[in-house]
Subunit: 337 residues, 2 copies
Amino acid sequence: MAKRHLSLKDLATELNISISTVSRALKNHPDISPEITRKVQDLALLRNYVPNPLAMGLLKQETKMIGVIVPDLVTHFYSSIIAGIEEYAKSQGYFILLASSYENLQKEIESVSNLLKARVDGMIVCVSKETNRFDHFLQLIENEIPLVFFDRVCLSELVPCVVVDNKEAVNQIISHFSQNGYKRIAFISGPSHLSISSSRIEGYLEGLKNNGLKFDPELLRSGNMGTEETIQIIEELLSLPNPPDAFFGINDMVIFTVMKELKKLRIKIPDEIGLVGFADEFHATFSSLELTTITHPTHEIGVKAAELFFIKKENPGYAETVVLQTQLVIRESSSRN
Amino acid sequence: MAKRHLSLKDLATELNISISTVSRALKNHPDISPEITRKVQDLALLRNYVPNPLAMGLLKQETKMIGVIVPDLVTHFYSSIIAGIEEYAKSQGYFILLASSYENLQKEIESVSNLLKARVDGMIVCVSKETNRFDHFLQLIENEIPLVFFDRVCLSELVPCVVVDNKEAVNQIISHFSQNGYKRIAFISGPSHLSISSSRIEGYLEGLKNNGLKFDPELLRSGNMGTEETIQIIEELLSLPNPPDAFFGINDMVIFTVMKELKKLRIKIPDEIGLVGFADEFHATFSSLELTTITHPTHEIGVKAAELFFIKKENPGYAETVVLQTQLVIRESSSRN
DNA sequence: TTCTTCACCGCAAAGCTTTGCAATAAGAGA
DNA sequence: TCTCTTATTGCAAAGCTTTGCGGTGAAGAA
């Protein structure tokens, strides 16, 4: 229902002057006499006038809203990035319109379309795990609608991206495992079309080489990050004639699943098998064994993504990829010295 | 920068007809001839025309946006509720504008003001832990802007609310503790002005009575839910001449803190002390000991809140309080039989 | 042949703000 | 007293959509 909001016209009528005079008075335009300016501003304050963003938007052709699409809304990783985006956006007078792809390509496409209908000024996106086509993003690019990717990225020649140094992170994991005497390191990766999968696999191969470990293709697995498939993979890995003595995963969830499975089998962590996660979910320190993991500067990722958004908005050609550093946080799950 | 979006005018010009004809043709108005209707619809589809929500909003005096304010964005409890709200809102063609109060009254007031500036059609709110004044909400009510509260509520004579049956939930906790032989049950509650605190305290007193347990005021504590203060309270409780043998808290976080502290002191859970949380955070099952807790139908809370919003929007006087049921999920932290 | 009646389509206003330009008035200079 | 500035203020258009109402032409009726 909601009563009509106060407009310039209301103020103008009350003061018996024209709308344009009110408009100018409110922004201290020199053309307007001091008394009128004062009277208008006083009344506006009293009545708590706020300009109508719809009218402004129509005029300026912008909504001051950024669409943000994430794979899910409920993990700390994304929530925290969103908080970062929101913070920076707010400082620029922008709002965020949030959408979740639920890790589903169709829903992602739908979200892009919905946000477009809402006339967001642009989007900041982390693609879903299923995203292997990019038409929906190319459409944005063609229409010169600012777009920024973070974490899971694509089209990086056209779009500014914020990522972490995945290769280096994995290198650190391998070195850490190696220093703790683990030799057969399994990597449960994600879908191969995802940037985070491929870059971490690179790091995996490099890290093995750097630490004088042999690459065994059987220990490198690509899953869909789902619990069921992950359990399947764990079972297969454990029943290998020469099973792994260490696991790390594309994210913490995968490794928590490993932890649960190993607990069921009464396999000792970190003595028999070492574990390292990826992302440092909020609850990593509450788990039965505190999890070694790669912390991400999530808040900073969000802020940076928002920053890039505003740069992109002013420079259509801009397409830098910003790489942020992670940190290996060593906890119980991998320390057996 | 973004190119200008396609408008009715563009279609009209291309077809050499008037804007109003295009507008009517798009909605199959009987006044428009079949051929023109077809031509217009074909072109609209081809060019991917979407109506401009700013213009519509200006005309209809509504933005189809709901402001949602939560204490934080990063706990699973709120994220999941938000997902529920978003789902229902989307089904009604509405978007969500998200804001966090960060558990801070000033930020909450600011958020209300910001959302108002953005001209949301109404708001769905869970108040911050500091919220003990309600002027900012009364202002909305006066202006007949639809408002719904959930979980932590207030002004329930004026505003529709969605809550859980806190009294019953706490009753269940007490009975469960009692059945497991715990006798001195401490409750670390939240700020006393919060609805969830007072209703759970009611349940606490009732539950004790129902189970023939004596109420000891020393075991009922109100904290600010912060880790530091919680630790302080735990220490005080444990150094009591007759310390508690069971804890439950206003939320899971508080109890996770207890769990950590007890672990440090090498106190055995659940043998020496039993623990029960509240809310069933995502990671309750990953903790060193799986946590007994009260699960909330979070998604349903969100959906219901959104439903009430749309009812309220059509019925200014509406102010029902919907009570949803929780469930006690018994896990390791409190089972010592 | 002339009037009536549909069938169709376009004009214009409303919703709100900004801003270029026109207009008015007063004051100053001649 | 008359013309020219200068200082203020208002008009109107643009941005986009919806919708009441008026308008046009053709076909049917008398």
